[in-house]
């Protein structure tokens, strides 16, 4: 771990000023991902800006009284157990509690969770010679290497890593809005545009611009909390990354699907949501045929590698399971 300067601003303006003026600076929130990467030598910040004194921990309705505004520094544990979340967005609570371990959730923040890097051994260990994300142009070690945990959707030959967040998959179906502050003032990024696909710039995991700070995550109201589930398939019962996960939220009126929102985790560089698939089952009866059709469309174009062939079938079955459970919930 390299020597570094440590600063702890007391307000957002100072934090933004520091990130703009200090070379190779990083914001430090819970540190659960940054410190791992730093100890491995993947990250080598020269200045660490500890943002723990900025507040930003409130969890309350949005200023207009509807929905929810979640401070970027709210801890994952606090968010998962918050009464407004448990009552109004239970799917978010379930996704949070499906992630990491209690110790990690106690430290990890909402903003940090959004910012966690894609998970891939060839990225995390600099002793591996090839990783386009860590060393652009060096190749992808996973493409012909060990790729059991890797992407089947939206990947490029440059990078086939997956985003490991559970929270983000739930946020995707909740149509979360990410509020950020930067040199140009405030802007709002829809969750669907926050994480990006690797394309030919795999080193960029998000569309957050340099010198921007996430301040909050806004959630619009959720009309139907009953028919919403988070399903995670993993190698052990707790503290394991998703092989595949599914967040599914249906609204059902008079026995038909009024709306469907479905996001997949563990299959792509970002939470995988396909609006065109969701429209397919609008107005139809929530049965196996409908869910099969959605799964087909969601997985259109999927491509697997040597060790992750199973994800093609597992993703399909997981989508069908999640939708079946969501539809059957009373």
């Amino acid at each position: 771990m390299n020597n570094f300067a440590y600063v702890r601003p007391n307000d957002i303006d100072s934090a933004l000023n520091l990130i703009r003026t200090r070379p190779k600076a990083r914001f430090l929130a819970g540190g659960t991902n940054l410190l791992d990467l730093w100890k491995m030598g993947v990250e080598q910040p020269e200045t660490v800006i500890d943002i723990s004194r900025l507040g930003l921990t409130d969890i309350a309705p949005r200023p207009d009284g509807t929905g929810l505004r979640i401070g970027a520094l709210a801890r994952n544990s606090d968010l998962a157990e918050h009464s407004l979340v448990l009552n109004q967005y239970p799917i978010l609570s379930r996704a949070l509690l499906a992630g990491a371990s209690p110790q990690l959730r106690n430290a990890a923040t909402v903003g940090g969770n959004l910012m966690q890097r894609t998970r891939c051994p060839y990225f995390y260990d600099p002793a591996f010679p090839s990783c386009n994300k860590r060393k652009p142009g060096s190749g992808c070690g996973a493409l012909n290497g060990y790729n059991r945990m890797h992407a089947i959707l939206g990947q490029s030959d440059e990078c086939i890593a997956t985003n490991p967040s559970d929270m983000s998959v739930a946020l995707a179906v909740l149509d979360a809005q990410i509020r950020v502050l930067g040199p140009g003032g405030e802007r709002v990024i829809p969750i669907s545009e926050f994480h990006r696909l690797p394309g030919d710039r795999p080193e960029l995991d998000t569309t957050l611009q340099p010198n921007e700070l996430i301040t909050a995550v806004d959630l619009p109201p959720m009309a139907d909390t009953k028919h919403a589930v988070y399903l995670k398939v993993r190698d052990r019962s707790l503290y394991a990354f998703a092989l595949v996960s599914v967040a599914a939220a249906l609204t059902i009126e008079n026995g038909s699907i009024a709306s469907a929102r479905i996001a997949l985790g563990g299959v792509a560089h970002k939470p995988w949501r396909v609006p065109a698939a969701e429209i397919l089952i609008k107005g139809v009866s929530p049965d196996h045929a409908a869910f099969d059709m959605v799964a087909d469309r969601l997985l259109q174009g999927a491509h697997a590698y040597r060790y992750n062939q199973y994800k093609l079938a597992l993703a399909r079955k997981s989508v069908i399971r999640a939708l079946s459970v969501a539809a059957a919930s009373t």
Partner: protein
């Protein structure tokens, strides 16, 4: 021997429990000395080739750096003698700094020594190593044609063996068969919670104190003394607590020799602690195994032929063979048996024993195959095993010292509700729609005693210290020694303090092979007997003795007093006796070694393990929901600690069955999941709440003194097969390649 109410055989809390749970137990990396510096390893990032240059120019300039140890400035190490590198003592026979060859990823090329650990780590990251890469050998199957057939494991177990004529039976007799089915297990790492750690403290240039996490203080002393050319008495190894090892600690691993060399060149004490990733390349692993089993039985289910072949790997610098077939000769009655092991040397780190070496992967294969043949024969799996029950050890035709395996089957079957099991795979679902399966397997593990010695010291205040150079790896050695002294000398446990893990104490074996209790217990008894004799002599024959005139055979020792059985008025406390005779302390040593019975009888522990699994029919997730293990391990000395051992062992088996595996990148030979986030060991929710462990508690009267056999390893044996068999019963899918992760069932 015990004349007070016995403490052996009763449940006792660990005497070191409070120290352990309050963080006050002192582990190797907790020791501190003045002037201590910190070391961090420099490791290879290729798996095969030659080091051309180690550029340390940047690292030297880094803050806090005291020195950089490489081959250039390392003290010349002496080659280890044959007794330390031969078949008997696995580990890396190749010492560090011998040449510029690289044999695996993470090989130790040197170390940075700095004022703080963080400085050492940062400087180590700045060292640039240039290599000439060599040809890479990572493909076990692809290189199988280059396999050798090693003769022995650990100098005592034949790896190529047969009885009868398997080939003739196979070729000529029509039978119900399981034809050469292949079972495989991945590389696995021990992953104790405490990493390897060493603090080397030189006194001058010829005396060394080494605090190191080792399960063999005496062996480590020999290795360090030999490597540094020191008289053995000049090297002291201290290790009062081990934070688990499962087979990994001990042996001649390079890192503690690097620490000793580092302390030498900087003339300061040096602490070197391995990181979690380094636990995957610096302290052994279980090698991958690819096993083939062939079974033939007549229509009544009597085995006629049994073939067990193992293909596995070792590093390029040591030939260690995972002995999967070693017990296949003994478990069942079968006239024709053939076992074979083939070994390929690959560019991976050196493997070593890991909890139940050989038996853990071997019984996964054998007990899965037995289940498969039982299905083919349409015979209940327990009944099939009973039809092939071995009434003696057919490997060398010796009678069992004591075997009650049938009772284990019966009790386990009753507890799990085996009789109501519908044998048809996929026939049972729970209310949530999950498939339910019941599976079982046999567990067997050798019982051994090894030579050991102990000393007891009685003080004038009546307290007793017992010492032996044995080890506490979290399993209860301190408690066990205390119990033995309490019973042998008729005192309460709180009057006794155990000391261990120091080469200054009487010698004891390496903590492995489930031998500790059966070896050290009798040594403690022998020392206590010697002390007792001294006490009686003092009391009866001494100048101012209170019991003079009494016959020694009439003396009883109880509650810290020496008394006459004939005349109850004649009695003296230990303390008064020592005071009256002018002794501050009274000491005695004793030792024990295996007797003649070990030549004549076959000593094994036995068990039967039953599990219930629930499997998601679509998503392939397997959860173990019930476990029943019934074991015949001889006399149980402390049911509380014995149960803990079995819970740990079986949980180890759950990990092996469902999630563990170290995965190499074939293009570089580097492990891709060398961390605890991606190398999965069971977490609390993987352990079923309904977890029954029972012991028959039948003393093995052929074992020394106490009739106890070991139980450190038998818990893992059989557990993976029982789970795989239960998964088959639940789903109809036979998974022969561990671990059984969801991808294999989707």
């Amino acid at each position: 021997m015990a004349q007070s109410p016995a403490v052996l055989g009763t449940p006792r809390q660990r005497v070191d429990g409070k120290l352990t749970v309050t963080g006050t137990a002192v582990y190797a990396s907790d020791f501190k000395v003045d002037g201590m510096a910190y070391g961090c390893l420099i490791q290879s990032t290729i798996a095969s080739g030659t080091v051309v240059e180690i550029d340390q120019s940047e690292a030297e300039k880094a803050p806090g750096v005291i020195a950089i140890l490489t081959r250039q400035n390392a003290p010349k190490l002496q080659a280890l003698p044959e007794e330390l590198t031969g078949n008997g003592e696995p580990g890396e026979s190749r010492l560090p700094f011998q040449d510029d060859q690289v044999f695996f990823q993470g090989q130790h090329l040197g170390a940075v020594i700095a004022e703080t650990f963080e400085q050492a780590r940062e400087a180590a990251a700045l060292v640039r190593v240039r290599y000439q890469p060599g040809e890479l050998r990572t493909d076990l199957l692809g290189l199988a044609d280059q396999a050798i057939e090693p003769r022995m494991w650990a100098g005592r177990t034949k790896l190529q063996d047969k009885r009868g004529d398997v080939d003739w039976v196979w070729a000529n007799m029509p039978q119900v068969r399981l034809v050469d089915e292949t079972y495989s297990t991945p590389i696995e790492n021990h992953n104790p919670i405490e990493p390897g750690a060493a603090l080397a403290v030189w006194d001058g240039t010829d005396h060394l104190m080494l605090h190191v996490s080792t399960r063999g203080v005496d062996l480590t002393q020999k290795v360090v003394a030999a490597a540094f050319g020191l008289p053995i008495e000049n090297v002291r190894i201290v290790c009062p607590f081990i934070g688990g090892h499962f087979g990994s600690k001990g042996f001649s691993w390079s890192y503690f020799l690097v620490a000793v060399a580092a302390a030498r060149i900087v003339n300061r004490p040096v602490r070197l602690v391995l990181s979690r990733p380094q636990m995957f390349d610096s302290m052994g692993q279980r090698a991958r195994t690819i096993q083939t089993i062939g079974l033939a039985a007549d229509e009544n289910g009597k085995l006629a032929a049994l073939k067990h072949s193992t293909l596995t790997h070792s590093s390029m610098i040591y030939q260690y063979t995972e002995p999967c077939g070693s017990l296949t000769r003994s478990v069942y009655s079968c006239p024709n048996v053939q076992i074979n092991h083939r070994l390929v040397q690959l560019d991976f780190t050196t493997p070593c024993p890991m909890r139940a070496p050989g038996e853990a992967p071997g019984f996964f294969a054998l007990e899965s195959a037995m289940d498969e043949l039982a299905v083919k024969l349409n015979i209940d799996p327990i009944e099939f095993r009973m039809r092939n029950y071995a009434d003696k050890d057919e490997f060398d035709q010796r009678p069992w010292s004591s075997k009650h395996l049938k009772e284990c089957y019966d009790r386990g079957a009753a507890k799990i509700g085996w009789s109501s099991r519908n044998p048809k795979p996929g026939s049972t679902k729970d209310p949530d729609g999950r498939l339910v399966g019941l599976g079982m397997a046999t567990a067997v593990y050798p019982a051994r005693q090894q030579p050991a010695a102990a000393k007891v010291i009685l003080s004038k205040d009546g307290s007793i210290v017992v010492q032996s150079a044995t080890h506490e790896s979290g399993t209860g050695t301190y408690t066990m020694m205390t119990q033995f002294v309490a019973d042998s000398l008729g005192v309460s446990m709180d009057r006794v303090r155990s000391e261990l893990g120091d080469t200054q104490f009487p010698p004891a074996p390496v903590n492995g092979g489930s031998v500790l209790t059966a070896s050290v217990g009798p040594a403690v008894v022998a020392a206590c007997t010697a002390l007792r004799d001294k006490l009686i002599s003092l009391a009866v024959d001494g100048p101012s003795a209170a019991l003079s005139g009494q016959a020694k055979t009439d003396i009883v020792i109880t509650d810290g007093r020496i008394s006459s059985a004939k005349d109850t008025s004649k009695s003296i406390s230990f303390s008064d006796l020592l005071t009256n005779t002018g002794n501050q302390t009274l000491e005695a040593e004793g030792s024990a070694k295996p007797g003649d019975a070990y030549q004549k009888l076959a000593f094994f522990s036995f068990g039967a393990i039953f599990v219930e699994v629930k499997v998601d029919p679509d998503l392939g997730e397997v959860r173990v929901t019930r476990v029943v293990g019934v074991y015949d391990v001889g006399k149980v000395l402390n049911p509380l600690l014995a149960r803990s051992q079995m819970l740990g062992g079986i949980t180890f088996g759950i990990g092996m069955a469902l999630m563990e595996g170290t995965i190499p990148d074939m293009a570089t030979g580097r492990m891709v999941n060398a961390n605890l986030a991606e190398y999965h060991v069971p977490v609390s929710t993987d352990v079923p709440p309904d977890f029954v462990v029972e012991f028959l508690d039948m003393p093995d009267t052929n074992m020394a003194d106490n009739g106890a056999r070991g139980l450190g390893e038998i818990g893992i044996v059989g557990a993976p097969a029982a789970i795989a068999n239960a998964v088959y019963h639940a789903t109809g899918k036979r998974i022969r390649d561990l671990p059984i992760t969801p991808d294999k069932l989707v």
